[in-house]
C-alpha cells in the first residue's frame, strides 16, 4: 500500500528521495526505528524523539516545513511529501511537534522580534519542548468556553485555573496557553495567547494515563502563576485570532492521511502473515480476515486517490479542496479500524499488558512474540483519533453548516 502513495517520481524527485534515504539509513538506529514503529499516539517515546530531533537539527532537517529564513528547507509540497513518506517508511520517531508545527508558525506570524529570536531557534535545535494548553475540564469540543483566569497586572498576567489533556507536558519546558484575560459578551473575545515557562512557580501537573497504559496527558494546574506581559503572543485579549490561525495547522496539517493508512495497512498485512488461523494456516488466507483486510484496503484506495487528486488539482492551479474536514470523517474511522483488526489478528495475545516491554531501554522482555506488543495499546490509544481535534459529531455539524449550508 505504501508503494502506491507517492505515485510515479520524476528523475529529480527520485534523486531527492535517494538523498533522504541515505540520511535515514545512516542515522536511524534500531532503537530509534523501534520507537517510531511503536508510536501509540501522535508522538514517539520522548527520549527517543528528542534524540532524533537533535540528529535532524545537526543535519539541517530540524524543521523542514519552516520557511528557510527560520532554518527550514524551502522545499516544494512534493518534496515535503517525499520527506514524510521516507520518514514514515523508515519508522523514524515522531517528534513532539506542538512547538515546531503549531506554536512556531504562530510565533512567525504574530510574534515580536524578541519572541522570534528567543523561541524559534530553540525549537529547531530540540532545546525547547512545548506543550499545548488549550482544553479545560469544561471546554473540550467547545474550546471558546475556556475559563483559565488571567488577571492582567502592570507587568504580569496572573493565572489561576487548569488545563487538561495536555499531551506530554511532563517533558515540556514551555507551554502555550489560552487564558481568559478580559470580559466580553462573545466568548471568543477576551482571550489571550500566552507563552509560558513550565518552571514558573505555581505550575503543577497531575498525570493522566490513557487506555494504552501510557502517560500521555496531564492536567496542568495554575496557582497564581505570573507570566510577563511580554509573553503574550499577538494582542492581549485577541488570542482567538492566533487560535484560528493555529487551527489551520492542526486540522489541515502537513501529514498525509493516506500515508498513515498505508503504513498501517502494510503493518497489518505483515502481522497477519506471521499469524495462524488456529488450523495451522496463515491468517492471511482466512476468508473473514482477508475480507476485512480487503475492505480496509479498498477504503484506503479511495482516500488515497482523493488525496492525490486534490493535491494534483491544487498543483495545477485549481482551488484548494473544501473537503478536508469531510474526508477526515471517514479516514479517521478507517485508521481506527485498521488498529482494531490488528488486535483481532493477534488473537488471545491481545490481552497481556506490556507497557514496560514496549519501552525502549527498559530491558524488559516481551511475553509472547515481539509483534504482539503494539496492536492492543495502539488500538486503545487510537480511540483518541475520533476525540482529539473534534468528535465525528462535531465535524458533521461543521460540514452540515459550512459545506451543505444547513
Amino acid at each position: 500500500m505504501m508503494d502506491d502513495v507517492l505515485g510515479p517520481l520524476t528523475a529529480e524527485e527520485a534523486s531527492f528521495q535517494e538523498q533522504i534515504r541515505v540520511f535515514l539509513e545512516a542515522n536511524l538506529t534500531p532503537d530509534l526505528r523501534r520507537a517510531g514503529a511503536l508510536t501509540m499516539w501522535a508522538i514517539s517515546q520522548f527520549d527517543m524523539s528528542k534524540a532524533w530531533q537533535k540528529i535532524l537539527h545537526a543535519h539541517g532537517y530540524g524543521a523542514v516545513h519552516w520557511p528557510s529564513v527560520y532554518g527550514g528547507k524551502g522545499w516544494t509540497a512534493r518534496q515535503k511529501l517525499i520527506w514524510e513518506y521516507e520518514n514514515t517508511r523508515a519508522h523514524a520517531p515522531k517528534v513532539m511537534n506542538m512547538g515546531r508545527d503549531l506554536c512556531a508558525p504562530c510565533i512567525m506570524k504574530f510574534g515580536t522580534d524578541a519572541q522570534k529570536a528567543d523561541f524559534l531557534p530553540r525549537i529547531l535545535s530540540g532545546d525547547d519542548w512545548w506543550a499545548q494548553g488549550f482544553s479545560e475540564p469544561n471546554a473540550g469540543s467547545d474550546l471558546a468556553a475556556l475559563q483559565l483566569k488571567g488577571e492582567i497586572g502592570e507587568t504580569d498576567i496572573v493565572l489561576n485555573g487548569s488545563k487538561i489533556w495536555t499531551t506530554f507536558a511532563q517533558y515540556a519546558n514551555r507551554i502555550f496557553c489560552l487564558a481568559r484575560t478580559g470580559a466580553s459578551p462573545k466568548k471568543q473575545m477576551g482571550i489571550s495567547f500566552l507563552l509560558i515557562d513550565m518552571d514558573t512557580p505555581g505550575i503543577s501537573l497531575r498525570p493522566i494515563h490513557i487506555l494504552s497504559g501510557d502517560h500521555e496527558f496531564n492536567q496542568v494546574f495554575f496557582d497564581n502563576v505570573r507570566v510577563p506581559r511580554s509573553r503574550v503572543l499577538g494582542a492581549e485579549n485577541d488570542g482567538w485570532s492566533v487560535v484560528r490561525y493555529l487551527l489551520q495547522y492542526e486540522h489541515g496539517g502537513v501529514t498525509s492521511r493516506a500515508m498513515e493508512m498505508a503504513e498501517r495497512l502494510d503493518w497489518l498485512e505483515q502481522l497477519a502473515s506471521v499469524e495462524e488461523d488456529g488450523e495451522g494456516n496463515s491468517l492471511l488466507n482466512d476468508p473473514d480476515f482477508a475480507r476485512r483486510m480487503g475492505e480496509l484496503f479498498i477504503d484506503a484506495e479511495a482516500i488515497s486517490f482523493a488525496e492525490r487528486e486534490a493535491t494534483a488539482l491544487q498543483r495545477s492551479g485549481g482551488p484548494p479542496s473544501q473537503l478536508g474536514e469531510l474526508m477526515a470523517i471517514r479516514s479517521r474511522e478507517v485508521g481506527q479500524a485498521i488498529t482494531e483488526l490488528a488486535m483481532r489478528a493477534i488473537g488471545r495475545y491481545g490481552a497481556p499488558f506490556q507497557k514496560d516491554a514496549r519501552s525502549i531501554g527498559s530491558g524488559v522482555d516481551a511475553v509472547g512474540p515481539d509483534h504482539i506488543l503494539k496492536p492492543t495499546p495502539f488500538y486503545f490509544a487510537q480511540r483518541a483519533a475520533t476525540i482529539a481535534g473534534g468528535t465525528p459529531d462535531i465535524h458533521r455539524n461543521n460540514v452540515a453548516k459550512r459545506l451543505l449550508g444547513l
Partner: protein, 382 residues
C-alpha cells in the same frame, strides 16, 4: 468531487451536464420507459451527433479516441439522468470487445456504424448459472466447415431487444469454468436459430433471454483468437465496472442534490427537515459516501488509462461505489418518506437502478474478493 481534469475534459463535463439537463429530463425519461421499446431514437441520434457513441473508438474508425476518463464523464452524466438507452451495453461493453478483440476488417465494418448510431450491439456472455463468472460458459461453438455452430442459452442480455448484432461467448474447448477455450462471435440478432424472449427490467431498460439452436456462423465471425476470449471478456468487464461506478457516482450526486433540496423545503413538526440534527448528519454522511464513491470510480478510470492494476481497481470501484450508492439510495428514500418508494418520483428510480446494477455486475462481497484476488497480499512494504 473536483477532479484534476484537463480543460477539454472539464468543458466536456459541463457540456454533458447541459445535454442531459436539457434533453433527458425525468419527464422525458418517464415517456421513454412508458413505451414498449424503451429506446428513444432521437436521443440516440443526439448522442451520435454529440460524438458520444464514437467516443471510445480509434480515429481510424471514425472514433474520437476518448480515454477512460472521458467515458467516466459520460457515464457520470448518464447516471444523473438515469439514461435508459443501451450505452453501457453497446458502447462501453460491446465497444470494448470490438476495440480490443476485433480484426481490422471487423472494426471497419462495425465501429463507424456504431459511432453513427446506425448499428447496435449487445453482449451475450452471461448464462443462467454463470453469475459473474464470464468463464463459466456452457454454450458451445462446434467447428464446422467454414465456421461454427452455436448452441446454448444466454440470460439477462441487456440491450438485446434493440440490437442488430450480438457478441456471443461460446466454448470451443475446455470445460465450463475453464479460462481457456472460450471464444467470442459476432452473431446477427436475426440469425437463424436465435430465439429471443424480451422483457422489461426494473431499472427502466430492456433485456432478453436468448436461446441458440444450431446457429451457423462463418469463421470470420470469430472475434480474436479461438479459445482466447477470456482476457477480452476480463478487459470488457473492467471497463464496464469503471463505467458503472461512474454511473453510480452520478446517481449519488443527483440523489444528494434532491435530498438536500427536499430537506430544506419539507416541513414536519413545524420545522424544515433540514433543521433536525440527525437529518443534517445523515446528509453529511451521504455526501461522504458520494465523495468516496467518486474518488474510487475516477481511480478506476485512471487505472484503465494507465493500464495499471486494472482488475483490482475496477473491483475496488464497483465494491465501494456500489456500497456508497446503496447507502445514499436507501437514505434518500428514508428522507423522502412514502413518496420515495413510488414510481412517481425519480428517487425510487435511482434506487432501482443502483440495486439492479449491483445484481448485474456483482455485489460488494463479490468485488471485495475479486479485489483481494488481484491484489495479492504478502510483503508489499519493501
Amino acid at each position: 468531487m473536483d477532479f484534476n481534469l484537463t480543460p477539454e475534459q472539464a468543458s466536456f463535463r459541463d457540456s454533458l451536464a447541459k445535454v442531459v439537463a436539457k434533453d433527458y429530463s425525468f419527464e422525458r425519461r418517464r415517456k421513454i420507459i412508458a413505451e414498449k421499446a424503451r429506446f428513444d431514437k432521437d436521443i440516440w441520434a443526439l448522442f451520435a451527433e454529440q460524438g458520444l457513441l464514437a467516443l471510445p473508438f480509434d480515429p481510424t474508425y471514425d472514433g474520437l479516441g476518448g480515454s477512460a476518463v472521458d467515458m467516466y464523464l459520460v457515464m457520470e452524466a448518464f447516471g444523473r439522468a438515469l439514461v435508459v438507452e443501451p450505452y453501457l451495453s453497446c458502447i462501453v461493453m460491446a465497444g470494448s470487445l470490438l476495440r480490443h478483440g476485433a480484426s481490422d476488417a471487423q472494426k471497419a465494418d462495425h465501429l463507424p456504424m456504431i459511432g453513427r448510431g446506425e448499428r447496435l450491439f449487445a453482449v451475450a456472455c452471461h448464462e443462467p448459472q454463470s453469475r459473474y463468472n464470464l468463464s463459466r460458459v456452457s454454450t458451445t461453438a462446434s467447428s464446422r466447415k467454414g465456421g461454427y455452430v452455436l448452441a446454448g442459452q444466454k440470460s439477462v442480455v441487456y440491450g438485446a431487444p434493440s440490437s442488430d448484432y450480438l457478441l456471443v461467448s461460446a466454448r470451443t474447448g475446455g470445460a465450463a469454468g475453464d479460462r481457456g477455450g472460450v471464444s467470442l462471435f459476432v452473431v446477427p440478432i436475426g440469425a437463424s436459430g436465435v430465439s429471443r424472449e424480451d422483457y422489461a427490467t426494473f431499472d427502466g431498460m430492456r433485456a432478453s433471454e436468448l436461446t441458440f439452436e444450431n446457429v451457423s456462423v462463418g469463421r470470420d465471425s470469430l472475434v480474436g483468437e479461438e479459445g482466447e476470449a477470456a482476457p477480452l471478456l476480463e478487459r470488457m468487464m473492467n471497463e464496464a465496472l469503471a463505467a458503472v461506478s461512474a454511473e453510480l457516482t452520478g446517481a449519488m450526486e443527483a440523489l444528494n442534490d434532491r435530498s438536500l433540496e427536499h430537506c430544506r423545503t419539507r416541513v414536519a413538526f413545524e420545522q424544515p427537515l433540514s433543521k433536525f440534527q440527525v437529518l443534517q448528519h445523515r446528509l453529511v454522511d451521504m455526501r461522504v459516501s458520494y465523495e468516496h464513491g467518486a474518488a474510487i470510480s475516477m481511480a478506476a478510470a485512471r487505472a484503465l488509462d494507465a493500464n495499471h492494476a486494472v482488475n483490482a481497481t475496477a473491483s475496488a470501484a464497483m465494491a465501494l461505489a456500489g456500497r456508497e450508492a446503496d447507502f445514499v439510495g436507501k437514505n434518500a428514500i428514508q428522507l423522502h418518506g412514502a413518496i420515495g418508494i413510488t414510481e412517481d418520483l425519480d428517487i425510487g428510480h435511482y434506487f432501482r437502478r443502483i440495486a439492479t446494477v449491483r445484481s448485474l455486475f456483482g455485489d460488494y462481497d463479490y468485488h471485495v474478493r475479486r479485489y483481494l484476488k488481484h491484489r495479492a497480499f504478502g510483503g508489499a512494504l519493501s
